[in-house]
Subunit: 118 residues, 3 copies
């Protein structure tokens, strides 16, 4: 295990990935599908997560904690359909918490914060 | 310290416990006491936390970070009464953050996310 | 790396700092500038963060994850001005997530949760 801190990608404002002590921290992931419904945005967000995990050198199986924010909790079931298919082939799903919150842009319907083992 | 990732309990949708690098991550804990007020639900939630910590091989003393969501911030003082008695015999309380949010079910008055050392 | 858990400062209710496995966890930081606008409160909050990081034996450069709650997302740009100047001299900014939430006191306009490497 390396205790060196590594930050990857993103912008001047925030890194996309931080790695420390074999833990991968992803920046909050949102979807730019402005017209996308919760299903489209959720799929888009989890695809971004998969891509960032790969870039960090890990994968969906190693995710152990996910925080989910929904702009509208009435879309919980639709988000869960996407989630369930995202986790269905894993040996075990991550821990998870999901609450409602307004996000940085009005078209964001979902934001996720992901922690994974390296 | 083991850098192996271990996930315990819960459901197909999410694990109840994830252990990595001697850190125990619990899934967001809520209360199914549908008629319970904030005091009853808070006690229920922290009892669940104690039980999961025990299952993970750790205890309340080793908790170092707690996020708390309240459905109604006007119930902050009542939640704190339960919290204060939960931490009163510890050598030191965890770090904490508490904000308001709507949760997955309308009867949820509190949800907590807990990190503990193993 | 020490896997010993250390908690520093704060109150009976919560510690200001917890250190475990070379990760520094700060309690949620808010501003007591009751009359302060988002700019004043954001500057105050990030100054507190700097001070706590120093007390923990680390610094802004080593921060790798920040959660930000705003009481009013319409103040996102003003918060970001303070943020951008807080991170501008870093080799790389932390990962970040920002959502809206009501906080424990009505005058809180911002709360932040900070993780840093030791």
């Amino acid at each position: 295990m390396s205790s060196e801190l590594k930050k990857i990608g993103g912008s001047k404002r925030f890194s996309a990935i931080a790695i420390h002590n074999d833990v991968v921290h992803l920046a909050g992931q949102v979807s730019q599908l402005i017209e996308g419904d919760i299903t489209a945005q959720s799929k888009d967000v989890f695809t971004k997560v998969d891509n960032l995990l790969a870039e960090a050198g890990t994968s969906r199986e190693k995710v152990f904690s996910v925080q989910i924010w929904l702009a509208d909790m009435r879309e919980y079931d639709e988000m869960n359909e996407v989630w369930d298919s995202w986790v269905e082939n894993l040996n075990a799903a991550p821990t998870r918490v999901c609450v409602e919150a307004r996000m940085a842009k009005p078209h964001y319907k979902i934001e996720v914060l992901v922690l994974a083992a390296l």
